[in-house]
């Protein structure tokens, strides 16, 4: 009983150290979708205010039947390489389930070959960065089978920028100053009062 248990423990340990490498790889996907987005090259959008209109359709130059297993289209906002630099939490990895390039969801729609469009207001938790739009075609098992994007293969054309909200508010600033002043004043007050009391008692 001890030997099989020991073997189980060791194989468990080894499997944990080994990298898990099953799943869909981005390089295996075909770019069969044509995706366009409303922002022009270099345009700066304000988070919370401006809108992006995304349109997508199946590229008819591919043979019919290629899109037979496309169930859903998931449209995402993705970081351009310049915004991934020195930021390993946005790294591009070929294995899609570990890929962090496209964390922001725009919309998910059932698949139709043409006439797809969606207008999205840039949400207030989108950080300041340079972006492009990518759409994944997903099959019934929720696995990516194809994609399309608004930029080229090197992710260098047609990029646009989002300017995030600061998150600061005047009311927050004022409250912060008030509490800081309270802390300093009460300290000074205590000190002064105790000094006065000790002088009075002498």
């Amino acid at each position: 009983m001890a030997v099989p248990a020991g073997f189980l423990v060791i194989s468990l340990l080894l499997s944990c150290f080994a990298a898990t490498s099953y799943g869909v790889y981005f390089s295996s996907l075909k770019e069969t979708l044509e995706v366009t987005a409303s922002p022009t090259k270099g345009q700066v959008l304000k988070a919370g205010d401006d809108k992006i209109t995304v349109t997508w359709r199946f590229n008819q130059t591919y043979s019919a039947g290629t899109d037979s297993d496309y169930k859903t289209i998931k449209v995402k906002l993705c970081y351009a390489p310049i915004s991934q630099k020195d930021r390993s939490w946005r790294k591009t990895v070929d294995l899609l389930k570990k890929d962090k390039t496209c964390p922001h969801k725009i919309v998910a729609r059932p698949y139709t070959a043409s006439n797809n469009s969606f207008t999205w207001t840039v949400e207030r938790d989108i950080p300041s960065a340079v972006y492009f739009v990518r759409a994944f075609a997903v099959n019934a098992e929720d696995q990516q089978v194809a994609y399309g994007q608004t930029t080229d293969a090197h992710k260098s054309t047609n990029l646009f920028e989002v300017q995030a909200i600061t998150g600061r508010h005047v009311s927050l600033d004022i409250t912060s100053v008030c509490f800081s002043a309270f802390s300093i004043v009460s300290l000074a007050g205590f000190f002064y009062m105790e000094k006065r009391k000790s002088k009075a008692s002498q």
């Binding site: 930021r87 390993s88 600061r168």
Partner: protein
Amino acid sequence: MPQVEGSPGSSMHGVTGREPVLAFSVASPAVPTDTTAKFALPVDSEHKAKIFKLFSLANPHMRTFHLSWLSFFTTFVSTFAAAPLVPIIRDNLNLTKSDIGNAGVASVSGSIFSRLAMGAVCDMLGPRYGCAFLIMLSAPTVFCMSFVENASGYIAVRFMIGFSLATFVSCQYWMSTMFNSKIIGLVNGTAAGWGNMGGGATQLLMPVLFEIIKKAGATPFTAWRIAFFIPGWLNAIMGILVLTLGQDLPDGNLGALQKKGDVAKDKFGKVLWYAVTNYRTWIFVLLYGYSMGVELTIDNVIAEYFYDRFDLKLHLAGIIAATFGMANIIARPFGGFTSDFMAKRFGMRGRLWNLWLLQTAGGIFCLCLGLVNSLPLAITFMILFSVGAQAACGATFGIIPFISRRSLGIISGMTGAGGNFGSGLTQLVFFANASFSTAKGLSYMGIMIICCTLPVSLVHFPQWGSMFFPPSNDNVKGSEEHYYVSEWSEEEKLKGMHQGSLKFAENSRSERGRKVASVSTPPNTTPNYV
């Protein structure tokens, strides 16, 4: 005979946790109780408490204990409050990996200097005002987080908040005015460990606050700023409690009491000289940088690591990160306990081996932590690493009191500063660089811990030996008296300033381990002048 009271660093006596560890009370014949005093706890002639009653709020002794460790805990919460929220902050302020790393370095660097200055502040204003000044003046710096808009602002604010970690000094100083020196070890060790827990508690607290504020309707980039108000309030509230409920000395406050007697103050320059010229000081400064230092570093990086590597939700990453810091509640005292246990049989050599084993084990587990890909294994290695590193902190301060008697305070202070310096250095080298991942950084740090713990084998006491070499056979050079009294010049000995060291030398004979044979009085020791 004149005592060297009030000498630089004498306020730090007992910081170490060595005199003796795990003593909860001092029996009456050893230290006579002052029966005329009307306190809740039995006190000695200076009205310092003789027993340590943990679950009591009795004024002034136990109340001081709780106020003191809570203030220290609060500053840890404030200093590391940003760490679990970094995944949100980095998006809001558009930070790069080096910005995040530099902010971490800044958060621990400020206190290197503030801790050194704090001793003087406590001497001048008393520990109550020292503590209150520090935490109430650092409350505005915490509130400043609501103004931060870019990387430089973030780094500057974290630097300023980090100054508040000097409450460690006021905490220990305050305890030594309230508790008898025979139990001050346990009291100070407990206070230090429980204060350090703040680094763990904040990893739990801040993400929960963030989620609650987000649910209440704020956007993420505003919610984290609001969350920072809570540590700020804690600072201000603790400051007010310290001022209203605390007192400097058992009999009242510093300003109201008069100084008694004539004290011969030791010269700061001499005390510093004997600290700096003792090579063991520097070895322990290095070593503490890789036990306490890596603990502070992990407080800064671990939540973000779990969030990114294992794709966890923010509050889950926070819970896991919290277990690292919270382990302090038992791990640090455990290190002191094992140090004593080894000392009983093997003396100082046992203490040195104990420290090396604990700290190296910590390094090995840190190395493994960076290598594993599975979440349960990562958590396991992290917990084992935390126990190793924190127990090593406790074990370090099990040895420090024996390095020098005259310069104990400064050596303790320098060691503490070494911890912060080590933290700044490891964050700069391993976690502020975009060229390798955090996981690799952890593994490299583990290797560095193992390497930087090796110098402990060089620490040699002529009277007790070292890890690999036995004590000296020489009757004179191999005595405790010779070691401790050598810090005093002939004229100082004529004035009798070395009496404390002589007494300490006698008590320290227990560091020989089992074979505490009766040692014949070595010739040429200064006769006792009355």
